[in-house]
Amino acid sequence: MAKILMKGNEAIGEAAVRAGGLHYFAYPITPQSEVGEYLVKRLPEVGGVFVQAESEVAVGNMLFGAAASGKRVFTTSSSPGISLMQEAISYIAGAHLPAVFINIVRGGPGLGGILPAQSDYFQATKGGGHGDYRLLVLAPSTVQEAVDLVMLAFDLAHKYLNPVMVLGDGMIGQMMEAVEFPESIKETDDPMTMDWPATGCEGRDPRIIKSLYLDPQALEKNSFALADKYKKMKEEEVRYELYKVKDDCQVLLISYGTMARICQTVIDEMEEEGVSVGLLRPITLFPFPENEIREQAWKENIRAVLSVEMSTGQMVEDVDKAVQGRKPVEFYGRTGGIVPSPEEVKDYILKILGKK
């Protein structure tokens, strides 16, 4: 298909459609309301379902019910709305159901602001709800990647029967870039061929989709089954990108999403100025490319590792864990809707290098 210029929010909506995610439940919230405004027109064209729910609490639970059908279901929201879904997300994970949650992160905590931020990293990667579960978390840095990862999210959700989160930010949602979609809407598996959805028990034994196990042995079994999935994700799903990580790099940047793009500009500019800096950009935030970061960070030439975030410091804890104290781990962050400029990141790098 030809490239088209599209706003991130709309591209995300179209990506879901192309992935066969035709069942959308949502409640408006800035900066992602355009997703719903796009889909309310688009979904009827393809026989999809759009329900504007009364709240994000309801959204989470509508997704829970809809996911039980075996079809591809999703929502989009932004930070406070995602907080309201935590109970439902925990239930969906506990019940081994696939659903895609897209969080176009804004500044927090509380009502905060509506500008882009990355301060929901902890919530997304450590699990904001209760109990032993994790989300698989994907973080796009361009509109095209948002499209690709949203489509991937559905596949992974169904592969693992686990909720998957796409962590964008207001910038990704609001900007327009050229994007390409697959020609047609993906044929998704027929729920009748699956052995878990609630399709009505005609001709088979009834199925119960639940997360309650009064017997602690049974509950533990369920939790260990979840843990096994997360182990498998760690083995199979780690995704990241290296940008100009060369043998002479002095500083290794770790950054994701919009922030990583800014780091690329920083790297390009510093390259011209003769300072070699590289970037490892995690694409999956959970599973986190821990070993990959360690490997790069421990290389002789690296003098420091710098986590650059639009937060007061969240991913840096995982970076710190990865590096294991062998190299200094530094943090540079702006938050609350402020997107650091290449200049300030550059300055910070020069400071680390003792050049400023």
Binding site: E54, F64, G65, A66, A198, I208
Partner: protein, 258 residues
């Protein structure tokens, strides 16, 4: 040869043969049976999906031979909305207690009703939180003693009980709302009719149907099953009048109903 034995009443086919965990005399069992009989009589077992609440009836799925989802506390109408919208060929019902539906689940029930989701809600009003050990519910009667109203429900602090059927009847969208009781056989018979009617409405594509069933909780009321039935009759019915609050079955405007 003696005449053939004819069963004129038996355990519903939609029931499993599991003995319930309910306390002796708890009317949850009766209401379960009415739903199971309805499913049998309409022959819809294979396309019915139930949504369980959190409350004493959370294990309802162990007793039914139909698919079931288990909702978070209060959110059954949202789950039901989700699955019914995505799979409109299913018959979807929720089964919810008064803590579940009238307290924590108020938002979900009002909005599912108001959007006119094509689901059936069976609302079991036993004026108390059974499962967690007998705390006050929004439906607890004035003066009724519970573990969180040890001196009796004090309406000056907690207000009067909420009447869900009346409240939902202020909405224009729902197709059918009735309050019944199961505190004696005659009322059980009426309750059965109401539940059948609700399912029939749904099968014919009518919108939101709701049956409130006054029910007993002998254990947490501290009464025998017999006393509990009498208490219900003497105390609850005056405040929770039985009857049809809304029925648009024969109405016909552009959306199929007023």
């Amino acid at each position: 040869m003696p005449e053939a034995k004819l069963k004129i009443f038996e355990r519903p086919k939609s029931f499993t043969d599991v003995v319930t965990h309910y306390c002796p005399g708890c009317t949850h069992g009766i209401i379960h049976r009415l739903i199971a009989e309805t499913i049998d009589e309409y022959g819809i077992r294979g396309k019915t999906v139930g949504v369980a609440p959190v409350g004493c009836s959370v294990l309802i799925y162990n007793y039914f031979r139909t698919d079931f989802l288990e909702a978070p506390h209060g959110r059954a109408p949202a789950l039901a909305t989700g699955i019914k919208r995505v799979s409109p060929e299913l018959i979807v019902f929720t089964y919810q207690g008064d803590g579940d539906l009238a307290s924590i689940g108020m938002g979900e029930i009002v909005h599912a009703a108001n959007r006119g989701e094509k689901i059936t809600v069976v609302f079991v009003n036993n004026a108390i939180y059974g499962m967690t050990g007998g705390q006050m519910a929004p439906t607890t009667m004035p003066g009724q003693v519970t573990t969180t109203s040890p001196m009796g429900r004090d309406v000056s602090q907690a207000g009067y009980p909420i009447r869900m059927s009346e409240l939902l009847s202020t909405l224009r969208t729902p197709a059918y709302i009735e309050r019944v009781s199961v505190h004696n056989p005659h009322n059980v018979i009426r309750a059965k009719k109401a539940i059948k009617k609700a399912f029939k409405n749904q099968m014919e594509g009518k919108r939101f149907t709701f049956v409130e069933v006054l029910s007993t909780c002998p254990t947490n009321w501290g009464l025998t099953p017999d006393e509990a039935q009498n208490w219900l009759e003497d105390n609850m019915i005056a405040f929770y009048p039985l009857g049809v609050f809304k029925d648009t079955y024969y109405d016909n405007d552009e959306e199929g109903q007023k």
